[in-house]
């Protein structure tokens, strides 16, 4: 792997930048691997990286039906935070946030992680109460979160309108200063490059079509569009397609897949200093380093794999944003797309072993999987390598629905999150 540094940049510039190597290989699939990861998004590539780096497994493949980072990794709004209510969730998401803080150095790849602060607006008495409860619960768990008055919120984010006449007045806000954004494509590329350097085969345009199980029930091989691959460990990290892949092993999942839309504006000069979210009137907004406003809209109502949705969903979000930030009323939107998110009944992920020996699953991140990328990858690798969950992901089983120990962030956040 060619390391990136200021020195290497200068040296290659003298050679007209013709000396750079491809950042990862495009190998043919081998007949057998020690472990196979299904899905080359940030979560799957990261899991392969941590398997190789921390667990000494080098004979690993990541199979991707399309191109790497082409699913939800390249379709999200890049928001990173860990201010979840319940102890289990706070531990999980803060594990990820701590890995984010050193990820660029770890991978020798600039993922442009920017802790610019995530501010969640309260518009009703209920919002104020639940956000203050979040602030206290987070602090008890060692996760930073603070309460701001409307004036303090305006000071932190000057474009915010807090004046009279708002249909949903801003009564205050919860601010996580360690939250922020990162460059989503760079996360996939950084993990791909680092995993490839450790010998991981990243195989694109290779769709898994079947999972073969032996007489004892355990995983023996996967059939793909590029031939059969023998393996005794399969980690499924396929986001919206998880139900389809798990059905190949005969498992029914507590998941439904919905389109989640996002959109970006034309690029403008830096003027929006943080991330602002409003659950109540559904607005998610930040400004990318390219200058585009990155806006998260809601989920469409129905199960779909179509990767697009109806226009009334983003229109509703834009109405909320124009109300909160009147200066954006004449901005033009440039692109709008959808990603397919797999949603669990309690809106918490599943990161666990399954009843099938050698089959592991990382799914159910719903509308908020990007922020968890390094943490989910790290814990999935641990679970695959040791055939047992890490204490942080131990509560996030499939069986929690059978046993009635759900981690109900759906009720805690009151909306998709």
């Amino acid at each position: 792997m060619q390391r990136f540094s200021a020195l290497s940049l200068i040296r290659h510039s003298l050679g007209g930048h013709l000396g750079w190597q491809p950042q990862w290989r495009s190998p043919e699939p081998k007949a057998e691997y020690d472990a196979v990861i299904v899905g080359a998004g940030g979560h799957g590539l990261g899991a392969a990286y941590y398997l190789a780096k921390e667990h000494g497994m080098r004979n690993i493949a990541v199979l991707e039906k399309g191109w790497l980072g082409g699913g939800n990794t390249g379709r999200n709004t890049t928001i990173i935070r860990s201010n979840y209510l319940y102890d289990e969730s706070a531990a999980l998401y803060d594990h990820a946030l701590k890995l984010w803080e050193n990820l660029s150095q770890e991978l020798n790849y600039n993922v442009m992680f920017s802790q610019r602060g995530v501010m969640m607006l309260a518009h009703t008495v209920h919002d104020v109460q639940i956000f203050k409860r979040h602030v206290h619960a987070n602090r008890a768990n060692g996760v930073d979160n603070e309460w701001l008055t409307a004036e303090q919120a305006k000071e932190f984010c000057p474009p915010l309108h807090i004046g009279p006449g708002l249909r949903y007045p801003v009564l205050g806000a919860a601010l996580q200063r360690r939250g922020g954004t990162a460059r989503d494509d760079a996360v996939a590329w950084g993990y791909a490059r680092a995993a490839d350097a450790l010998g991981v085969d990243i195989i694109q345009n290779c769709e898994v079509t079947a999972i073969r199980r032996g007489t004892a029930g355990g995983v023996e091989a996967v059939e793909t569009s590029r031939g059969a691959i023998r393996t005794r460990r399969v980690g499924v990290s396929a986001a919206g397609n998880t139900s389809v892949v798990m059905a190949m092993a005969g498992l029914r999942m507590p998941l439904e897949s919905y389109p989640l839309q996002a959109l970006v504006s034309e690029p403008v000069k830096p003027m929006f200093p943080c991330v602002v979210m409003s659950n109540t009137i559904h607005a998610y907004i930040s400004q990318s380093d390219k200058g585009e406003l990155v806006i998260g809209a809601g989920m469409d109502a129905y199960v779909s794999y179509s990767q697009h949705g109806a226009l009334h969903i983003p229109a509703q979000t834009l109405e909320a944003i124009c109300e909160l930030f009147p200066m954006f009323r004449r901005m033009r939107m440039l692109r709008n797309w959808g990603g397919i998110v797999d949603v669990t009944p309690d809106r918490s992920p599943i990161l666990a072993k399954t009843e099938v020996a050698g089959l592991y699953v990382n799914c159910g991140w719903g509308t908020g999987g990007f922020k968890a990328t390094p943490g989910a990858a790290h814990l999935l690798a641990w679970t695959i390598a040791r055939d047992e969950p890490h204490p942080i992901n131990a509560p996030f089983t499939i069986e929690r629905f059978r046993d009635g120990v759900v981690i109900d962030e759906a009720a805690a956040a009151a909306v998709s999150h």
Partner: protein, 92 residues
Amino acid sequence: MLLIVCPYCGARPELEFSYGGEAHVARPKDPASVSDAEWADYLYARSNPKGVHAERWRHTHGCARFFNALRDTLSDRFLATYRIGEKRPDLA
């Protein structure tokens, strides 16, 4: 936006409807006699197919009645809509 054919009112825009999740999910007749795993499967597991999906819709801002639909989840194209109580149409 989807154009949905309500079996009572005809084609109307999606905004008039609410989605009701997967159709034909039968509640066990005697919940006390099923295992925890079977009850969890009824409550939480869904087929979530990539392809033809039988689902419930309600024409909330119209006749307010529930009905069922078959829709291709890859193209979002409606293949059939039918009244509650009617059998799932055979598309073949």
